[in-house]
């Protein structure tokens, strides 16, 4: 295999692995803020117990997120040197802002969040939790801005030619608010909230089924269900808006998402299907004219198809893109159905009576996580053959100094170490879930330190 495909595999593998964790951290951050806020408001110890419990799991996802995130940053330089030279000027300010406003905020307050329960007052601790949560939200902002710029470049001009060409920033705010960044940021944020909320739902559903931590779990489940229901519905709108943006800015990608070839035809929307690239056909269940209707709110307007693009400007992995996209949509719908049904049961006062429903929530943690992954695969594969849409091809973006053997070495290294890391994650997650929230009496409150913390908290 050549350097290009190896480097792409390595990047896809490391970024997909990385992306298991940040959404969970962002989502759990939101839930922790709500739980701790409830504790401060009601003074009921049960909320402190659940906040402390989820903080431990947050620490796990956050730690692995940081470790695997450094890999991503370094890979820009190691594997994609030409890309780095090309985009450095534009990404520079986004990265600087990410480092200073997001990472430092998160990691600074993380120490207090994890180890400071007995050292600072509840209020200072709450502020630290909010600091960490905001930090994680900001970090998503800058990385999504950078990625969106690759999808829909704006606020720059190109200097130099051929391999020497670079993009230089001309308008910072146009770069930040490039045509796709707001839609995609909201979509990513909500995907993260869902990932966190469904993890909380899953664990507490499990406790309820086992009859452990029952009162605490009921309260925590309701918090997470509220979050999940609201955002599962909201995701429908951000998703739709994103797709409208793709139709305008990246028509080739949109055509690939629905497997639409013929520009003169009305476009269908598939529920599921299979793309036959050679015969340019999709077999499956579709809503005739569905895509056309979603984009234009009528049934007659043709949608630009893949055939209208030169062969070397179309995404190649058409069936994979189609499948990833439809998987994401299907799982999104499943989340809406499940949370709406559960909310309806809650309203009837029968939320915790159906064991099958609780089992469904135990397993449903996979839905948002797989949907998040699938969405990114569709977005990134749909952008091909470009790394920066319309400007820089992926095949031109590599490191000239790196050989295939070196990438094979690092790929094996990452496969080994990430296997270990994933085993660690599952092991620790399971262990923390088995131990469960600490009972109220077991939470140590050191009076001396609380005295000191009282001064701190003002």
């Amino acid at each position: 295999m050549d350097v290009e495909i190896l480097s792409r595999i390595q990047f896809a593998f490391t970024v997909a692995f990385h992306y298991i964790y940040p959404p969970l951290s962002i989502g759990l951050g939101l839930i922790m803020v709500i739980m701790e806020g409830q504790y401060l408001r009601t003074k009921e110890p049960v909320y402190e117990q659940m906040a402390r419990f989820w903080t431990k799991i947050f620490a796990l996802t956050f730690g692995i997120g940081v470790a695997t995130g450094i890999v991503m940053e370094f890979e820009f330089g190691t594997n994609w040197a030409t890309y780095s030279r090309y985009v450095g000027d534009v990404f520079g300010s986004a990265l600087a802002a990410e480092g200073i406003f997001a990472f430092a905020l998160e990691s600074g307050f993380l120490g207090i969040l994890l180890f400071g329960w007995n050292r600072v007052s509840p209020r200072v601790h709450f502020i630290s939790t909010i600091g960490v949560f905001f930090g994680s939200l900001f970090s998503a902002v800058w990385i999504v801005v950078a990625n969106s710029w690759q999808q829909t470049p704006a606020g720059f001009h190109v200097v130099g030619e051929g391999m020497e060409a670079r993009a230089e920033i001309t308008d910072f705010w146009a770069m930040v608010f490039n045509p796709s960044s707001v839609d995609r940021l909201l979509h990513v944020w909500i995907g993260a909230f869902l990932a966190g909320a469904f993890l909380v739902l899953s664990v507490h559903a499990f406790y309820l089924l086992k009859g452990r931590h029952v009162e605490l779990s009921k309260k925590a489940f309701r918090i997470a269900l509220s979050v999940a229901t609201v955002f599962a519905l909201a995701q429908l709108f951000t998703g739709h808006h994103s797709a409208e943006g793709v139709a305008v800015n990246q028509p080739a990608k949109l055509a690939a998402l629905e497997g639409h070839f013929d520009s003169l035809a009305v476009a269908d929307a598939y529920v599921f299907g299979w793309v036959d690239k050679k015969n340019q056909q999709v077999t499956g269940l579709s809503v005739p004219g569905g895509l056309t209707y979603l984009l234009h709110y009528d049934l007659n307007t043709p949608v630009r198809g893949l055939n209208s693009f030169p062969e070397d400007e179309r995404p190649t992995a058409l069936n994979a893109i189609f499948q990833f996209y439809h998987l994401m949509v299907a799982f999104g719908m499943a989340m809406i159905a499940l949370t709406l049904f559960a909310s309806f049961q809650w309203w009837r006062g029968k939320l915790f009576e159906k064991r099958w429903l609780l089992w469904a929530f135990v397993l449903a943690v996979l839905l948002p996580n797989i949907a998040n992954q699938a969405g990114w695969f569709a977005a990134e594969m749909g952008r091909q053959p470009w790394v920066v849409y319309g400007l820089l091809r992926t095949s031109d973006a590599l490191s000239a100094a790196v050989t295939a053997n070196q990438v094979v070495f690092s790929l094996i290294l990452f496969a080994l170490i990430y296997t270990l890391l994933f085993a660690l994650f599952l092991y620790l997650l399971n262990k923390k879930i088995q131990v469960g929230p600490e009972s109220e009496e077991r939470i140590q409150h050191n009076p001396r330190q609380e005295g000191m913390a009282g001064v701190l908290g003002g």
Binding site: G88, F101, E164, I169
Partner: protein, 344 residues
């Protein structure tokens, strides 16, 4: 090129990146150093205390690397691309050990079996020491220069990073980090572990002094381009003199059992040594050993003035924020380590 106070943007950003890497060395230096000494602690409780002394802060310390790397990418994308792709294997090993170390810290405390803890203690210690050495090796290669050809691409062989000079810089880094880590632990511990550390701090200091002396001799004899600026502009010579004074202060303060102050000077030493390096290199970042014309400098590697202006503004707003809450976190966890239910 626009300027602030007569200093052009690339130079300012060179200072920012230098400041971030100094901050990273001072902060992650002590937790890597503490890790490198880990197997010298024999008792289980000592090891736990040593781990918990860095527990609340090591993750935050590594963030300085993320930010430093980001700042380098942002300000000097060409440098970032050439260095990272040219040093592919050391950077990949660095990443692998970085993750391996984090895994070790987290895994160790989760089971009580003796072999389990011993296994993760060994991997934690080896990973910490290797990371210190790898940082030094990369720095050594930057000092020595690399085979950079047209298009600012690295043209050399991938094994070239393992040269004697770079390895010597690696050993020196390990020595300085270990000293720094021992001094940090001395501030955080008491009793038997403290007594043990007083001995370890001395030994680490001796190791550093030996490697550092060798390195200085090697540099002066074989790599004249790393000292010519100090020969030509004599008042600059005060900077290495300050660095030597700072180094000399460490054993003096260790002898007087003033470990907090000694820790300050081991940190200062890192900053001063990096300033010495910066003075010598400026405005070059990596000398090309193929042809000086291909050397990477802060000017031919820099982002545009517009981009740098935005980044400097962001840094000016952000830096006071970062410093204030970093100080707040360290202040919160000041004092000797007490194990409690949130500990490793």
């Amino acid at each position: 090129m626009p300027t602030i106070l007569g200093i052009d943007y690339p130079t300012l950003w060179f200072l920012v990146v230098g400041g971030l890497f100094s901050g990273y060395a001072i902060l992650d230096g002590f937790d890597l150093g503490a890790g490198a000494l880990h197997l010298f602690f024999r008792k289980e409780e000592s090891r736990r205390i040593a781990l918990n002394a860095i527990g609340p802060v090591w993750d935050g310390n590594e963030v300085w690397l993320v930010i430093g790397g980001g700042a380098l990418f942002a300000g000097f994308p060409v440098m970032y691309a050439t260095l990272f792709s040219g040093m592919y294997i050391p950077f990949m090993l660095f990443l692998a050990f970085l993750i391996f170390r984090a895994v070790s810290i987290e895994f160790r405390s989760k089971e009580k079996m003796k072999w389990w803890r011993q296994m993760w203690d060994v991997s934690y210690c080896v990973a910490s020491a290797t990371l210190a050495i790898l940082l030094g090796v990369v720095l050594g290669n930057v000092l020595l220069g690399m085979e950079i050809g047209p298009g600012q691409e690295f043209e050399g062989n991938w094994v070239e990073f393992l040269n004697p000079y770079a390895l010597l810089v690696g050993a020196t880094t390990l020595g300085l980090f270990s000293t720094h880590g021992a001094l940090y632990l001395l501030m955080k511990t008491e009793g038997r572990l403290y007594a043990k550390l007083t001995i370890l701090a001395r030994r680490a200091m001796i190791f550093f002094l030996v490697t550092f002396s060798l390195l200085t001799l090697y540099t002066l004899i074989y790599i004249p381009h790393l000292s010519d600026r100090f020969r030509s502009i004599q008042w600059l010579f005060s900077v290495p003199v300050l660095a030597f004074l700072s180094i000399a202060n460490i054993p003096r303060l260790i002898a007087k059992h003033q470990y907090g102050r000694a820790f300050f000077f081991s940190g200062l030493t890192m900053a001063l040594l990096l300033i010495v390096v910066a003075i010598e290199l400026y405005p070059v970042l990596i000398i090309s050993t193929v042809d000086k014309a291909y050397s990477i400098t802060i000017y031919n590697a820099a982002s545009s003035g517009k981009s740098m202006g935005i980044m400097l503004l962001i840094a000016a707003i952000g830096a006071p924020l970062v410093l204030s809450y970093t100080a707040f976190v360290f202040w919160t966890f000041r004092g000797k380590v007490k194990l409690d239910e949130t500990s490793y």
